[in-house]
Point group: C2
Chain length 488, copies 2
């Protein structure tokens, strides 16, 4: 241990990596299992590519493309090559597919569920590790494959526990965005970028804010000024009409989009693409309330080459203090025909969907609260009888009951307090008297707590001992089971 030689380290945790306790771990697990089951049902097989990739293989799809290792956790391997923790599941998939191209069954359909890491400034609800759950089809061209991914996104939201009306998948396509740019006469890539970022903010800033961003620019509440695209009024008009084209049904939206962006080749192709997606969605039974076409959806354009979509949680959550939490986008995806081409030269069509599990689980855990499902505690009142307490605890466990024998060194009062802290439904108390009589004293902690509210004073409480009763030792398991089941 060498504790005399070394200075004592401070017990502290790297920022952005919270310690996760049981409730959030269970919520994440439930979601991963439910969404993985959807992926499996649709014919995807699990693949785990491992945590590290070579930095050059990982590529530069993160914000700061000037610094090669910005945004990722990178280190030099013992052969001096730089490796980095994956920042998503898609870049490693592209490497895997390229590396194993010759032997893969194609199309290649895989799902992944596991942590990804981003070396970003941590902050409240900004973690540096989070779990993503992805499905991807590689070697598939054409809108039917995209429609399938979109339908899977909707089904994943349902599997996560969202009910009808509590979620929506919003779909757009790169072709339409190209089409409206062309129709509006915007060709400069930098200006196109400003326009897309502006459209992406429609939900948050409304028409007024976006109009400013498309025009001369906008000052936000903090006084920061965002440069505008400096478009003319008729151009702005066209983009606003485009962004507002979402209608009650997918067919109606397509009609409106045809009017605004259908005059160009890209725009017409975009409308046709969405129409083909719509046909397959209908065949798959995906409702109008589940999937909408929304031209204001903009996602990473260096990455996506065709349809793009976002899965949004509309249901309003409340945290433990009753404050509303709006979640918005919890997943997204689209077509990325260029990613495998980085390795292979030739384009390999692919489409995928990714859900951010950590955010979703945090929401569900915050809103649903934690079920108290602590272990039944067998108090240890006499160390000489430890084997007897062990046998009782074992009996409970063999009866299917989560149970623990108190193993600390404190007395009865501290043991009762420990049971409270652990959320134990009941404790088993056996002292000399009980042992002599062949009985156990059982305390139902929930019933006890409720009864205690009604008891006038400490004196009365001590004499009445609410929720506490005696039972023959042979009935211990069944009596405890009744308490545990009543509490569920």
């Amino acid at each position: 241990m060498a504790k005399d030689e070394q200075p004592r380290p401070e017990a502290r945790k790297p920022r952005g990596f919270p310690d996760k306790t049981a409730a959030i771990i269970a919520a994440e697990r439930r979601l991963v299992d439910a969404i993985s089951a959807v992926y499996r049902r649709w014919g995807f097989d699990a693949l785990d590519t491992g945590p590290f990739e070579y930095v050059d293989a990982l590529g530069k799809f993160l914000p700061d493309t000037d610094r090669p290792n910005a945004g990722v956790f990178a280190l030099q391997d013992d052969d001096d090559q730089w490796i980095a923790l994956r920042y998503d599941h898609t870049a490693p998939l592209a490497r895997y597919v390229a590396e194993n191209w010759a032997t893969l069954a194609k199309p290649f359909r895989r799902y992944a569920a596991g942590p990804v890491w981003r070396n970003e400034k941590p902050g409240p609800f900004r973690f540096r590790e989070f779990i993503q759950c992805d499905a991807d089809s590689v070697g598939v061209a054409g809108p039917a494959a995209d429609a399938e991914m979109i339908a899977i996104a909707a089904e994943a939201m349902k599997a996560a526990g969202a009910k009808a009306g509590e979620y929506a998948v919003r779909v757009n396509t790169r072709l339409l965005l190209d089409g409206v740019m062309e129709a509006a006469g915007v060709e400069d890539p930098a200006t196109r970028g400003i326009v897309l970022r502006a459209l992406d903010k429609l939900d948050r800033l409304g028409t007024e804010g976006v109009t400013l961003l498309l025009g001369k620019g906008r000052k936000d509440e903090s006084g920061d000024f965002t440069q505008g695209a400096k478009l003319k009024d008729n151009q702005i008009e066209r983009f606003l009409a485009f962004a507002a084209a979402r209608a009650g049904t997918r067919s109606e939206t397509l009609g409106r989009l045809g009017n605004v962006a259908g005059s160009t080749k890209s725009g017409a192709a975009g409308v046709e693409e969405l129409a083909a997606i719509d046909t397959v969605l209908k065949a798959l039974g995906v409702g109008e309330d589940e999937v909408t076409f929304d031209p204001a959806i903009v996602r990473g354009l260096e990455y996506y080459t065709g349809p793009v979509f976002e899965a949004e949680l509309l249901r309003e959550f409340h945290d433990a203090d009753g404050n509303p939490i709006r979640f918005g986008s919890v997943g997204g995806g689209g077509r990325y025909d260029g990613l495998v081409a980085r390795f292979r030269g030739e384009a390999v069509p692919a489409t995928g969907f990714s859900v951010g599990i950590s955010r979703l689980a945090a929401a569900l855990a915050a809103s649903e609260g934690q079920a108290a499902d602590g272990p039944v505690l067998v108090l240890v009142l006499d160390q000489a009888e430890i084997a007897d307490y062990a046998a009782m605890t074992s009996e409970l466990r063999k009866g299917g009951i989560r149970a623990e024998m108190y193993l600390g060194s404190s007395g009865m009062r501290a043991q009762m307090k420990y049971a409270d802290r652990r959320g134990s439904p009941a404790v088993v108390i056996v002292g000399g008297d009980e042992r002599a009589k062949g009985i156990v004293t059982i305390k139902d902690l929930k019933a006890g707590a409720e009864a205690a509210k009604a008891v006038a004073d400490n004196e009365a409480w001590r004499s009445e001992r609410p929720g506490q009763f005696e039972a023959p030792r042979g009935e211990m398991v069944q009596r405890i089971r009744a308490i545990v089941e009543a509490g569920q």
Copy 2:
């Protein structure tokens, strides 16, 4: 994408991080779930401390203590502090407990299941990431807590699928090792180290090899010479008697150990400790075939301060080629009263158990083979009817059947081959004829493959089409379900 500007990266994977496919992922998941359920039933709650720790907090419990970052994957955070990926679950637990000491319910019982990382030379079956599944009790002194851990180890082996006689937990204690050293008059720490490493090899080298290692040294098959402890014959005698003290029952072993090492204070205390453990094990119903006392068990002595134990898989596995695989130790644990003290100064008693999931899962996956549970494939023979194929696939899925519509661009022969590669139980074939008649053609691929063996030639195969039949469209789901269920 900038693929014109950048050189094409090579699609290659960092060494020691294998890509895991579905069978091994499923095997690992099953084990983690089964063993976590055991931990939960015994009253442990899940805790995930996250991947990174500060290097100074992680401590130096890895082989090469001269290089601070040897053995771990370390990097500098943006505030210049060194952080490293955890190499086990115990060091982060010690940090967590020290950091949250004031608010924790004590004893603190947690389990962890997740990857750990070791920056070691990779090799065959030597991975740099593997999954460990741990349970620890912190704030517990005394042999009852150790007995509990040992019983949990046995139960975890059962939960992993080992039957009676296929596993054993072998228990020793640091006190006994100290006692026999004292009794034999070995005081020099370096010599003690050589002796312990020699005892640890009894299983592998036998009495003869260990005698050499305790004496003048041993040359192995490759010609490498290992320095011996240079003990006298009567000392060697005593250690061999000690190491061979394992008898048919725990009580018998204790009797023998009393004779060999009981004359010293430490030795007597060690016998007493194991006797107390035996009492609790008996109360917990842990059989003599499940847990034995074995003085030849030696584990990391810088780390463990009391009882130590190893869980061993005795069952012989066979790989896909029928070669026997002996697994030996798949988990271990013991008492480590000093680990939290690194942070807090005062000793905090603790005891734990850890199973290496990855090794175990690799064994089970290798021996059990992969169940073919691919998706039912709906062939796509006419792109204009894609919506119809989508609807059929959706119908199968809604009927609880794993199903996929072919989304590649190849013809029927390639689609059939794809179904084979995926392990599909059946394919659904609908061309113009079937559609006109309102029927589907179903091919049972397993029945087809078996029948094909009996068919004389290609000509006959083409006319007979073994395993293939027609069914009304309305019966598709039930006919497919019958095939899927028959194959399970």
